[in-house]
Symmetry: C2
Subunit: 362 residues, 2 copies
């Protein structure tokens, strides 16, 4: 952390790796010695095309993406994909299964209902989204065109630590808040999508990983920019892509490779989460209500014993250089989002503050 | 121009005002003293919300946008709006009129045909898109839900210098490559949309100006992020907006205000275009084929007498610090895009080079 920077626990848009920002800053007015910003060059020029290709190769390498999957870099974020998934994978009258383990799954379902009948295969609302039922208990339907779930729920702090086995039905996952945080068996999925603004880069970019056999079935009324085949056939340049966001994502991929890839990220993220949950569990003052088996490594919500202390906690933590710890209004209390770019030192500083705060006011 | 920068005539993504880039660079790691990049803060936090509101106010002020119009800042660019316009303004079975004066109008038409019957009210293909017929000659249809046209065609260098009178039918305009280049009578339009990457900011952002009475009629299958009413009701934050692109657009608006607004831009752009066309017209070596009454102030295509000299022209101009002059493959030759951010000094340098080149090899 440079002198002027603080530790940022925002849920998204979220902290970016500082070396990435330093590099982007250094070359902001003159990229690759071209005398122009990367924002000012044509997406169809040789320099940007080469950069885009290399960034895709790096992303594929990081996640060991098999050859029978396409990677798309699309404008917008995950919310646009809430619509594009049914537009690409279904026809009118079709249905799909949705598993709801938090707010984002519910939003995905609402958007899908513009196009299809949604079967809710599981819904943990009754637990206030603090658990994940085993797949054996899901009410999967035989005619579903796909099964959609949210491997990590940013607001509720609930994460799948295994990929559910749903048989031959294509599995579709909104990985916005967990992608690149650990290794992933891509071959288990039909479609993976993610908004960039948590573990990839700035807001305004979405990445889609889609199995080849799912291309080419979009409804006629699918806007071209979210027709998976149109975008795959054009290397995501059917329209002008969000070039700066793509560039920054590429810098994040470079950084991840230098840091040891998603294997190293998993170790780091596990260690960060373990010590933060240990701090919470060791105290009667802080509480995390999520079942231990599905606690998120990325988003750690916790409440204070006395909610009237929330404001003081927020003010004092901010003064201590720990920003954006306020929990989502649906859950209340605090939330520490500890994505790849949040260093272990930030978690250590947070734990130190939490212990001190409890000692002083608990 | 700082020492390392060159003059950039790219058609889009295009040159940005250098003071904007300098400021973005200075605060890239620490925005507003928050200890975070603007890319790292929540779009719902007080700082970004205040910035977004002020940027909209500045944009409204620059274009004197009446109170009965909403301004939306949307992910994606103009291509997404090619679909969103019919999704928001029509129902199945409806039709609209499209005026085709170049490639972008044709693309807008193709995308609209996913949703509606398109009446081609005018098409200047026979002239190779070098003219604009008077509105009296357009085949407007009485039942059209809207009339769509492209006030400036980036590839062909054809620009409307007056707003066509189409009666009470809502007029819809793709202003991607002309917005903010001159004053505009917004009240003449139903919908104006523009991708950012020419006169507004980086790629990945679209701005829509929509009259209130056209809100609330979107088809059920309209993705939420392009439902004009959904986005208007949420101040363009129904989803996570492309915050960095929005921020940079705000810096461009600040710069425009400091420079004297769109009135000053119009004077500057007229002067730049006039001297470049004068240079072309004074020569037998360079040719611009567009009718004088509809020549673009933003994109100036021109051909060399001997196309075998094109490559040499491009190499030598680049060596002289004049980048991205290659014409679009559909038109050939050269194209100088001279948006707001391209200074008069760039045009002077180009003219100097052109005259010298002609003298040496013509």
């Amino acid at each position: 952390m440079t002198a002027e920077r603080i530790f940022n626990f925002a849920a998204g848009p979220a902290a970016l790796p500082e070396p990435v920002l330093v590099r982007a800053q250094a070359e902001l007015l003159n990229w690759k010695g071209l005398g122009m910003s990367v924002m000012e060059v044509s997406h169809r020029g040789a320099d940007f095309v080469a950069y885009a290709e290399q960034s895709e190769l790096n992303f594929r390498s990081l996640l060991s993406i098999p050859d029978n999957y396409k990677v798309l870099f699309l404008p917008g974020g995950a919310t646009l994909q809430f619509a594009s998934v049914p537009l690409n994978l279904t026809q009118p009258g079709d249905s799909a299964d949705y598993v709801l383990t938090g707010s984002w799954g519910k939003k995905a379902k609402s958007e899908a209902e513009r196009y299809i009948t949604v079967n809710v295969a599981a819904d943990t609302a009754a637990s206030s989204y603090t658990t994940i039922p085993p797949v054996a208990e899901w009410a999967l339907s035989p005619d579903a065109k796909y099964v959609h779930y949210t491997p990590n729920e940013t607001i509720h702090g609930v994460e799948f630590h295994d990929i559910p086995d749903v048989g031959d039905t294509p599995l579709v996952a909104d990985m916005s808040s967990t992608i690149l945080s650990r290794p992933l068996d891509i071959a288990r999925f039909g479609v993976i999508y993610a908004g960039a603004q948590k573990n990839i880069g700035p807001a305004g970019l979405g990445i889609v990983i889609v199995r080849d056999d799912l291309l080419g079935h979009a409804r006629r009324e699918t806007p071209g920019i979210v027709d998976f085949k149109t975008m795959a056939d054009s290397d995501s340049m059917w329209n002008t892509p969000p070039t700066f966001a793509w560039y920054l994502a590429g810098l994040v991929f470079d950084w991840l490779i230098e840091e040891g890839g998603v294997q190293a990220m998993e170790q780091r993220n596990s260690a960060k989460a373990a010590k933060l949950y240990a701090c919470i569990d060791a105290s009667d003052f802080y509480t995390n209500r999520v079942d231990v088996h599905c606690r998120s490594r990325m988003n750690v919500p916790f409440t204070l014993k006395d909610p009237s202390l929330d404001q003081r906690f927020l003010e004092e933590s901010k003064a201590a250089g720990l920003a954006n710890l306020k929990g989502h209004r649906m859950v209340g209390g605090m939330r520490a989002s500890i994505y790849n770019a949040v260093p272990e030192a930030a978690v250590d500083a947070l734990i130190g503050f939490m212990q001190d705060f409890e000692k002083r006011v608990g």
